[in-house]
């Protein structure tokens, strides 16, 4: 990562925005959830990149070694929780998509809106 400096944060923001674009501009519901997944993973990469120390190593204590620089373990803990919560959200979202397909017959957002506007109840 030495060649990037501050620019790597910008690159991860670019990845986040790609995921965000999929989420808001595509009409297919499963594609939206894929975009949400990409957005989440990019946020995780951004967060973990803030915990890295140059010349550091993984935060597993080495027996009897002095002066070893360990990377910050706290972002790792938070992102571990966030990954599992993310897959839970994805599972519930996909279950809702399956039910919507059974109820409307389609998973395209504009067709669902049109069907709702025809039968407003």
């Amino acid at each position: 990562m030495r060649i990037l400096g501050l620019y790597n944060y910008w690159f991860f923001i670019f990845l986040m925005m790609v995921g965000f674009y999929i989420l808001i501009s595509r009409r297919n519901l499963v594609k939206k959830i894929l975009g949400l997944n990409i957005f989440q993973t990019s946020v995780f990469i951004f967060y973990i990149s803030m915990g890295k120390i140059s010349g550091g190593t993984a935060p597993i204590l080495i027996e009897g070694a002095e002066g070893v620089v360990y990377s910050n373990p706290l972002p790792h803990v938070l992102i571990l929780t966030a990954i599992v919560v993310g897959v839970s959200t994805t599972a519930v979202a996909l279950a809702i998509v399956v039910r919507m397909k059974e109820a409307y017959g389609t998973i395209e957002g504009d067709e669902i809106t049109a069907l709702d506007n025809e039968n407003p109840f």
Binding site: M17, I22, N28, V30, I45, M50, N72, D110
Partner: protein, 233 residues
């Protein structure tokens, strides 16, 4: 060598994300999302986050992909409407290109980049994030807890409440999926309707039971052959 690896990972990440934007086949998009998770696991390893890489590879490239494929088997795997033109199926609106999402995305990206201008440089040991609690965890974990993996000690002991909440969230997801998906539209094995309109299977008697042996030594619960229809069990 390290810079080449980083550059290759980042380039593939960007390519995969852009490919998910453009594709119209959902099966390909699911596989690309799995590849994205795996590449991000590689990136986590490069950034010394080995526990996170492990979890992301297992969860993102494993469980998430399986769930998407199971959903695609139930809902169909093609994107129907063209991606670049909004074509309403019953009203009469003129077709237009979706520039509004692109504008929103560009504005959000610009605001976030403006926000990162105050951030400390990447990898600097004097960053504020490394000053308050993290050195205490790294130094005291050896005396107070005594296990080498600091991430596990922080996760299970220092931040045990968060992990408790997370376990409960995972459990709630199972309950949510159960509420949404477990009611199947059929009668159960005994032909009875349960719980009103929808036939919810009785999970203790409605499924094939685990291994039992009856008198002739055959496994009970195996599907019977055609010549045994109506015979005695």
């Amino acid at each position: 060598m390290g810079a080449l690896l980083d550059f290759a990972l980042l380039a593939f990440l960007a390519t995969t994300a852009l490919a998910v934007v453009r594709t119209t086949k959902l099966f390909a998009a699911t596989m690309l999302a799995g590849i994205y998770s795996l590449l991000s696991a590689g990136l986590f390893t490069v950034m010394d986050a080995v526990d996170v890489a492990f979890t992301e590879a297992a969860v993102g490239a494993g469980i998430s992909t399986v769930l998407f494929l199971a959903t695609l088997a139930l809902v169909g795997s093609k994107v129907k409407t063209p991606q670049l033109r909004i074509r309403d199926i019953s009203a009469k609106v003129p077709a237009r290109r979706p520039v509004f999402p692109l504008v929103v995305v560009l504005i959000t990206g610009a605001i976030l980049i403006y926000g990162t201008l105050d951030m400390p440089p990447y990898g600097d040991p004097d960053n504020p994030i490394h000053q308050h609690v993290a050195p205490r965890y790294l130094e005291e974990s050896e005396h107070e807890i005594g296990i080498p993996n600091v991430v596990t000690s922080v996760l299970a002991s220092y931040r045990g409440f968060d992990t408790f909440g997370e376990t409960t969230v995972v459990f709630t997801a199972a309950i949510g999926v159960m509420i949404l998906l477990s009611a199947m539209r059929r009668k159960d094995r005994f032909g009875e309707e349960r719980w009103g309109e929808e036939n919810v299977p009785d999970l203790y008697h409605g499924y094939v039971t685990t291994f039992w042996l009856d008198q002739d030594g055959r496994m009970k619960g195996e599907p019977e052959g055609p010549e045994e229809q109506g015979g005695e069990p």
